[in-house]
């Protein structure tokens, strides 16, 4: 009985934290999101770390790690509001390695793992986010997929179709229309598919649900990272800003506000870990825990982020200060893959209530 990360997971967290702190630990985040295109140098460095292959088996060229490890990565990525699709790359490569034919794997895994090719999930459409709600024809998708992250730079789309079909569509055949996205670290697009035949990866609704749950767990972890980052910044600020002749962090009103953020966030991290672990073990409670974690973490993250901006005072309300990046990241996490009530209802239904 051991409920903790492995030494390997902790080391990976350290390594990634060091890597990202150098790039985004200060105010660089605001600058980094001034342009919506993916920073080629950043992406090349991320590719070099081999993160895309995190959940791909070792004999297929990956690291052979689990969703818990991906969730640990997601928390760090959220903590620095990294403007690069790290988690989509991990789960796209996992999906192709899990469900792909030899030909599909041979074609895409080397590109995704070694050459920095970009895969985007095109899931939400008029029907909604969840696999059972997807309306496009998976064999030959025709129509619009909403809120697709970084469609402009994608080499490959993983398209969700009716009945949970998952298909591969190459970028050349689609039209991507940018959305003026709130969260500038993850620009979104509406993507129109022209109805040409797709390369079907899976027709298994269960697998599509499993992908969706994995995305939910990682979004929960991302929100946790964003919220803990902005809380940490508010704490640092309370230790340097003076008013009335003393550090504002000595005022109980602010102390209590910052402490309450810890009461929300600290116990929630083990919930994310458990949801990931339940998924890794293929437990029956995995879908419910994914829904619960998605709803809980994104809900509290937005509350914490709002409070942390307030704790900064006027400076936190400026575009130049990075605080808003984390609020917007948390707000996007709250909406991506479906809202809080939607996931709470899913968890209630899965409990048989």
């Amino acid at each position: 009985m051991r409920f903790d990360l492995t030494d390997e997971q902790k080391a990976l967290r350290e390594m990634l934290t060091d890597f990202l702190r150098d790039r985004f630990g200060g105010a660089q985040g605001v600058e980094a999101t001034a342009h919506s295109e993916l920073d080629a140098e950043l992406w090349s460095d991320v590719t070099e770390l081999g993160l895309a292959g995190a959940m791909v088996p070792e004999d297929a060229g990956g690291l052979g790690l689990d969703l818990l490890t991906a969730a640990v990565i997601a928390e760090v990525v959220g903590h620095y509001a990294v403007p690069a699709p790290v988690i989509p790359s991990i789960l796209a490569a996992w999906l192709i390695a899990t469900a792909g034919s030899e030909e599909q794997k041979g074609k895409w895994l080397p590109k995704l793992l070694g050459e920095g090719a970009l895969a985007s999930f095109a899931l939400a459409d008029e029907g909604g986010w969840r696999p059972a709600d997807w309306t496009l024809d998976g064999e030959a998708p025709a129509g619009v997929k909403r809120n697709v992250e970084r469609a402009d730079g994608a080499d490959l789309f993983i398209v969700g179709g009716r009945g949970g079909t998952l298909s591969l569509v190459e970028a050349a055949s689609v039209v991507s229309t940018p959305i003026d996205s709130l969260d500038r670290s993850r620009p979104l697009f509406d993507v129109t598919f022209d109805g040409s035949a797709a390369d079907v990866l899976s027709r298994d609704l269960v697998l599509a649900e499993r992908l969706f749950d994995a995305l939910c767990v990682c979004i929960a972890a991302d929100a946790l990272g964003a919220a803990s980052a902005i809380q940490a910044r508010a704490i640092d600020y309370a230790k340097e800003r003076k008013q009335y002749g003393q550090l504002i962090g000595a005022f109980q009103a602010l102390k209590h506000q910052l402490a309450d953020m810890s009461v929300e966030l600290e116990p929630a991290r083990p919930l994310v870990w458990y949801a990931a672990h339940a998924w890794d073990m293929g437990q029956d409670d995995a879908p419910r825990m994914a829904a619960l974690a998605k709803a809980h973490l994104t809900d509290i993250a937005v509350v914490v982020a709002r409070g942390a901006i307030e704790a900064h005072g006027g400076i936190g309300y400026t575009w130049e200060h990075p605080a808003h990046l984390f609020l917007k990241r948390a707000m996007a996490d709250r909406s991506l893959l479906g809202g809080v009530n939607e996931h709470r209802e899913r968890a209630a239904a899965l409990a048989g209530w």
Binding site: R2, H277, D280, L292, E345, W353
Partner: protein
Amino acid sequence: MDLRYTAEQTAYKERVRSFLEEHWAPVEDKRDLSAVARLRKLATEEGFLYRGVPRRYGGSEQAPDVIRAQIIREEFAAARAPMEVFGNGVALVVPTLIEWGTDEQKNLFIEKTLRGEYRWAQGYSEPGSGSDLASLSARAELDGDEWVINGHKIWTTLAQYATHMFALVRTEPDAPKHKGISYILLDMKSPGVTVRPIKQINGDTEFCEVFLDDVRTPASMLVGPRGEGWNVSRSTLKHERNHIGSSTRTMPMFRSLVKLAQRRQVNGSPAIEDPRIRSALVQIEGYLQSQLWAGYYQQTLAANNESPGVLGLVNKLTTTNFFHRVAQLSHEIIGDDTLRAPKQGRDRGGDERWVNQMLGSLGQAISGGTSNIQRNIIAERGLGLPRSGSEN
């Protein structure tokens, strides 16, 4: 991450389970006091209870093992078997005596406390000294071979049933406030002790005022050095740090709340089918599951002697907030039954007993360090914010 028990731990779990099947299942009546006492004795001999207490004082003196402690808790809970005697004596006095007590004090008090013969009142708070406990003014003066105690204690839990009191009193009036306090033991039957129960907002009388007027206790009843009472009182059960971030109270409460929502009607259909109530239930479960897994995480850290950091400081507020959320939702679910006063004593009454949850959740917020004091602790010790107040 590995949530399975090892073969050794599984065997231990089996041992606890078969022990309970043999010795508790045939009785299974917590009101049968002799059966309860018999089970505790046998369970202590087996090493299941009082694991941090030396054998010569009636404990089972086991090597610290957080996982075994957890297995024992789980199996006893599953069998609805009584564990250690509940209360301040076992939780606070025994660990303090083990760390600081004289042989005489240990021999006199520990075993009888473990058996429940001695029940302890905690004489800490005073009318003028609540959150700022170290400002207390009850005093003890040495008169020959006896201490003479005068003071007024309050919020003393179950003092009306206590046989003894452990108290903080000022013995060095000229020392700085934390340095002038001693930890002292006295017999509640001594002349000069007057207990006045206090009626609470829910009608219960769980705590009291205790007046100490020229109460005499032997000089040998001081625990630890004179003037060191503040440090002495900080002794807690370090052995297995039982119940770290425990969800033993919150989990059954949540199950009851779900049953209540399934049973009660709102607008002509079961409350649990109401979208707002379903959503609120899952929201509360998000906090519950967080507490549950944060508890397992903290047990793992404790087993490896690693610090839980800020997480270790939020546990009381986690429970307090949970109780508060349950109270609010139960209020919604029982509707007009909220207008009724909850029953007292054995008569549990109808669903208006959830009103007790609304009132009792406030008790949880106040007792053992108010929520605002907890927030100060998190902010100062956990987040490193500057200390406030003129002296600390």
